[in-house]
Amino acid sequence: MAPIIEVKGLHHRYRNGFHALRGVSVTIERGEFVAIIGQNGSGKTTFVKHLNSLLRATTGTVYVNGLDVSQHVVSEMARTVGYCFQNPDHQIFCESVYKEVAYGPQNLHLNQAEVDQRVDEALGAVGMLHCKNSMPRELSKGQRQRLAVAAVLSMRPEILIIDEPTTGQDYRDGIEMLNLVKRLHQSGHTVLIITHDMLLVARFAKRVLVLRDGQILLDGTPREVFGQPDVLYSTFLAPPPITSLAQALPEFFPEPVLSMDEMVEQTLALLRKR
């Protein structure tokens, strides 16, 4: 099957002259879980905004699900690409959770029964069916963030883009959000997340894109990417602490370690050997 996202030679120059993307080419297959990392200003958000036509390529081509994105407006791309913005307060405007989630499907001109079904499905997926009649503004920050995801899910997009899903959340909300993203990936979505949370990348992502100055610096599995700390340091990123610890002890851990469990396992194996 054709890849779901195919980007070739993508350049973007903003109207103020800032050259944000300088030749990005990447292919993403259906069902991948990709984390995009990089410093602020490296082009992460600019890149994903090309996938649903919010931004138009200065040069280069972007194909999503076989569609030439430059030929379609954002509202058409919304059926395929669900883009969840970082701050849920930028989109919540309805007086009930139900209406908020129903807004997207209604924009797609679906009938009432279909809208209702999709709202239930989306709220179920984020575990918020019980707050269907709540006021969105009275929800906690974590709930509002999940509501924002539901509002996008209800359009049944194949691709989900989530901008910084864990930023500004407490530990519990962050974990809930991550489990949600993981479930959505398992249920068949192609997931792209933008994040600064390296633990999240190590634990959940199957593929990592590292951006620097509008170019892809590294592209590989978390193990491959975190195995090159020097390249990461060059753009002020660092592997998770547990990976760095292992890298500081190369005679015991020749391969990159991604989690506490791996570290424990390998340490026990070493101890037994002695």
């Binding site: 905004k49 649903n52 919010l54 407006v73 954002v74 509202s75 919304a78 059926r79 690409v81 669900g82 883009y83 913005f85 701050n87 307060d89 930028h90 989109q91 919540i92 405007f93 807004y103 997207g104 924009n107 797609l108 503004r137 509002a151 996008v152 359009m155």
Partner: protein, 268 residues
């Protein structure tokens, strides 16, 4: 939209009040003198001032942008103040029925020129002032020299400062809603009005939130606890006095010229 241009120049260094007086002098001169020659001289002096301030290009672009208005004003004047010799008619007199309509007269042309140049004279100085003076400096000058209460001045500068922030937020909100298939469709006014809600409601909440936070920050930094002192003293320097003297002399010269009748439009 004119914006402050960060450059060093003689004009940038002038006291904001001096620049405000300058625009006032130009306003008075442009109103009391009618002759297109005088008015053309004034507009040239304003553009020259732009070049002295190293914002010549910006001044030209801005003044050029106003030309469209000037042309409209010129055309209106041409036909509303006819007089003197007829230069030509828009519909040549040889044409049947409409021949000789809309005559263009000498008086019409001169008054048209005067009016359109006058508008340029009145507006162009602001382009020089805005590109060489930070808005907050204008406000501070008003507080310092004209004793405008600081609270009002603060209100005004904060409003100016908030505009770009709010516009950025509006753009983000609009992108977020478009990602949910929001699209303004059709020409039905009620539908279009309804389509504002997804943008307007979030921006109102965000603006209130930002204003609340700003208020807290101001309290935390002791706003209104005592008489304020200022980091930068706004003093009229020698350069300002020289400029002010020149302006007063020019103004007197202009008034004398006007009283003696040199500024009048002479219809040959």
């Amino acid at each position: 939209m004119m914006e402050y241009v960060f450059r060093r120049s003689l004009i940038h260094d002038l006291h904001p009040l001096t620049k405000l007086v300058w625009s006032a002098v130009i306003l008075v001169l442009a109103l009391i003198l009618d002759s297109p020659w005088f008015l053309a001289g004034i507009i040239l002096s304003v553009i020259l001032m732009g070049f002295v301030a190293k914002v010549g290009k910006e001044t030209l672009v801005y003044t050029g942008g106003l030309l469209a208005f000037s042309v409209i004003i010129f055309l209106i004047q041409v036909w509303f103040r006819p007089g003197g010799r007829i230069l030509f008619s828009v519909f040549p007199s040889s044409w049947p029925v409409v021949g000789g309509w809309l005559p263009v007269t000498i008086s019409g042309v001169l008054y048209g020129l005067a009016m359109s140049l006058r508008v340029l004279c009145i507006v162009a100085p602001f382009s020089v002032i805005l590109s060489t003076t930070q808005p907050r400096d204008v406000i501070m000058a008003l507080v310092d020299k004209l004793h405008v209460p600081y609270d009002y001045a603060f209100l005004f500068t904060t409003t100016l400062r908030f505009m770009p922030i709010i516009m950025t937020e509006v753009s983000t909100i609009s992108q977020a809603q478009r990602s949910r298939a929001y699209a303004v469709e059709g020409w039905n006014p009620i539908r279009r009005l309804k389509a504002i809600a997804p943008i307007a409601i979030p921006i109102v909440f965000i603006a209130i939130e930002k204003a609340e936070r700003l208020g807290l920050c101001m309290d935390l930094r002791g706003y209104g606890s005592k008489e304020r002192t200022y980091l930068r003293a706004f003093k009229l320097r020698l350069l300002d006095w020289v400029a002010l003297t020149l302006m007063v002399l020019t103004l007197i010269g202009g008034i004398v010229a006007a009283v003696k009748g040199y500024g009048r439009i002479v219809i040959p």
